[in-house]
Subunit: 492 residues, 2 copies
């Protein structure tokens, strides 16, 4: 199978598309721009969900569920948010089909079943949630309100790619309400930090934390915090965002609270989300020309055991060893699968597990039976070693940590070697074309300059980094003065 | 709060509606027929999900995700299924909004953004899934295919009630493909048994397993297995269904496989689902006039500790005890919450926890400090006892099992005392009106008789029980011959 994978050097984009399909992660569906997430891909997403959900709960959030469909009058209440999503909305206008008199056996929309008010399939849920919060918040005692929702959303994107940009995607969206501006900002920052911790510790993806420029902000936000990752082709990928919404939605939906002092005020809001897009980031950060490479912390199977045998007796003996080994590994909370399918030869199994990114492969053959050994192969380095049976559990346990760290370090080194300080626009364009990655450059802070740079180079401001050091300089494009560098890149 | 709950005797339906809202489980939204599932209600649903998901995986199923929107041409491919759902479909016809020239600040559907083909918001996913399976199944090696999806679905019901019947609801839908008819039937039965086990062991709801009559079958199914529960008002509730779909969907979507012998044949299918409707069953089975009663296996908080104090020193001492107690209980995997809110008096806390169905309440007051005791109150029996501090962990641990069993036994006794054998139609009508519950009666097996009985009494055939004993008899309505009794009831 993996033989046919296009190499990254040949065509990175084609490599990605082929990999997603061949590794059984997802595929396009009969619905324009919508994907089917296959069991193997979904198992990785479930591991991400479980960990994020744990982190959200640990920081005091609870899950809830709000309607999929949003009445148009609510959708348009916060004008900037509505304007931002209006052009990519799926709209429900009717609620019944009927037999088509012109086409026996076919159905058509029943013209008599037109909705009085159109319903928007949620592209994001601020409108319906803030309309609900109006009934939940009266007093400071009701605050903070810290809620998260796991849901599907629809944004009618014209150019779609599996995981990275799909018309329907899965995500979580947190929506919180607070007494004070400071508390809401703190929450938005906290959740951006949670995302960064998750990306680094679980996905093994180094990220840069920062805030968006005004034109890249979420529609309706006062400030958008983000984490930005770098893919192997030198393009950036926004991996998560957390928004300080000010009082915009509270005002649009008239959500006021009575303070301890008895005063009425609008509440302060945040929202934050990550989506199945993270799957794209995970794939593109670590994988190679042989297929997927998964960090142990997110691999559905961390270890696979493949028996190599000629006789039934050999298989029986190998299976005994494999079963004992699985017991020991599972006791250490390591997930392991015994691939004893009789329909595939060992070579084909090796190729499949490589393609699907199983972190460790253990092969047991006739020689191993004689010597009391097994062969352990690492997916990330493609290296093999023969080790004594007695050392399997401890070796595997250590390798889980080692591989997780190695993947992160490798990605960090790549990322760090792809942040280039430039001081002229020629240099800017040159680095962007030859090397890619993040370009750290002075910017005069205007929307006009940002738009011009994007028009000329396709690079956008990915973020104003949180750890930015104030530094007087000259805007790389306009020559006007600047107080610090920001990060530009071409992005997914 | 609970003072205002209408009693069951007064108005069962009103009691239910009030309870759902006052116990913070769910509420109606701005979208007709769609509910908001509030954090407390969602926490119960999450516990249900976790256990069901575990049971599905243990029986070899994997999760995946398929598109929300189904092109009309796919939707109508399996005619009976399409016909069954056509009258309650939300239909997406457009993909963009624009500024409304007649209403500044408002949006309208962009007439130029009409979809070439309408998209149906899934009411169930057989169509999109079987269209996908066509690409996944070629050989017997690809079978069985055992997949489940957790998702939202929309059915445009005209009369809705929180949890029981909502235009949008959450559910899981399993969709499996098999080589043989026997294997598919076995799967459908297996999953109906999984549902029954879950209902009985976790929800503490006794259920009757059986199959549906032809007119109550799922649209497109050859056989529908079901579990039927009985609510306290004597009405039945279908708590889960599992369908043997024959080759209907395989034929509609042309899904064939090559057998071991090299022959081509259509695959055999099942689908099975339970939904947030189970929340309605849970609420109605156990709750009382004081509010929700939850079985320990599904309670978000199994125990709540309430401090009763006059001085800060007392509170401090109580908190020390509470913290130790929580450590011990959590070590036994018992979930416990310390309700030390200063904004509410103990009486108000008691009322809230009763209303929200926390299985055990532990109160610690000044007298308890003196005596080294605590007061333990059971929600299900509303009984209290004072026990020594040293015995708390073991007592609570035992009570968790005892309450779980007691709730099941109570519900079972109620159910068993509400299955009435009748042999005449007068008796049938009389029992239905005076006592309710399941009526076990002979039926001639015809759709006409079934429809007549429904028209006259509003009772439907809930199921032909799996453990039905063959018994020659006379149909209670038509006087024609019958080979066994079936269960009738009025139902949710």
């Amino acid at each position: 199978m993996s033989k046919n994978l296009t190499s990254r050097a040949e065509d990175y984009s084609k490599w990605y598309n082929e990999l997603v399909v061949k590794a059984d992660l997802a595929e396009n569906s009969a619905v324009r721009g919508c994907m089917v997430i296959k069991p193997y891909g979904y198992a990785i997403w479930e591991k991400m969900q479980a960990e994020l959900d744990r982190m959200f709960k640990e920081t005091g959030h609870q899950n809830a569920y709000f309607p999929l469909l949003i009445p148009k009058s609510l959708f348009e209440a916060e004008e900037k948010n509505a304007e931002g999503f209006a052009k990519e909305c799926a709209i429900v206008t009717h609620y019944r089909l009927q037999n088509d008199p012109d086409n026996p056996g076919k159905l058509r929309v029943d013209p008599d079943a037109k909705l009085e008010e159109e319903l928007i399939v949620r592209p994001t849920s601020e409108a319906i949630i803030w309309n609900t919060y109006k009934g939940w918040i009266q007093s400071y005692r009701d605050l903070p309100l810290l809620i998260n929702q796991w849901a599907n959303v629809v944004r009618w994107e014209m150019r779609t790619r599996l995981f990275l940009r799909t018309a329907e995607f899965l995500w979580q969206e947190g929506h919180t309400a607070h007494e004070t501006k400071a508390e809401a900002i703190q929450e938005a920052e906290l959740m951006n930090n949670v995302y960064a911790t998750f990306a680094e510790n679980f996905m093994a993806i180094p990220v840069i934390k920062g805030v968006k420029s005004e034109s890249e902000r979420f529609a309706g936000a006062v400030e958008t915090y983000c984490i930005e990752a770098l893919m192997q082709d030198g393009k950036a990928l926004q991996a998560g965002t957390s928004h300080f919404l000010g009082q915009n939605f509270a005002k649009a939906f008239d959500v006021k609270f009575t303070s301890k002092e008895g005063k009425q005020d609008y509440v302060w809001a945040t929202s934050w989300g990550v989506s199945t897009r993270l799957m794209g980031a995970l794939i593109m950060t670590h994988s190679d020309d042989k297929g997927l490479v998964l960090p142990p912390n997110l691999a559905p199977n961390q270890v696979v055991i493949v028996p190599i045998y000629k006789t039934d007796e050999q298989l029986e003996e190998i299976s005994k060893i494999a079963n004992l080994m699985m017991g020991d590994l599972r006791a250490k909370h390591i997930s392991v699968k015994y691939d004893n399918r009789t329909t595939l030869r060992p070579g084909a199994k090796f190729a499949q597990h490589e393609l699907q990114g199983v972190p460790l492969r253990i092969a047991i053959g006739p020689k191993d039976l004689e010597n009391g050994t097994v062969e352990v192969a690492r997916r990330d380095t493609l290296t093999k070693e023969v080790i004594a049976l007695d050392n399997v559990t401890s070796t595997v346990e250590n390798l889980m940590t080692e591989i997780q760290t190695a993947l992160y370090t490798k990605a960090l080194n790549f990322r760090d070697s792809h942040v280039t300080l430039v001081d002229t626009f020629d240099e800017f364009k040159n680095v962007l074309e030859t090397k890619g990655g993040f370009i750290s450059a002075h910017w005069d802070g205007t929307i006009e300059t940002e738009a011009k740079i994007k028009e000329i180079t396709k690079a956008t401001i990915r973020c104003i980094p949180t750890d930015e050091v104030p530094e007087n300089g000259i805007c790389v494009y306009s020559g006007s003065s600047s107080k610090g560098r920001v990060l530009f890149a071409k992005a997914y």
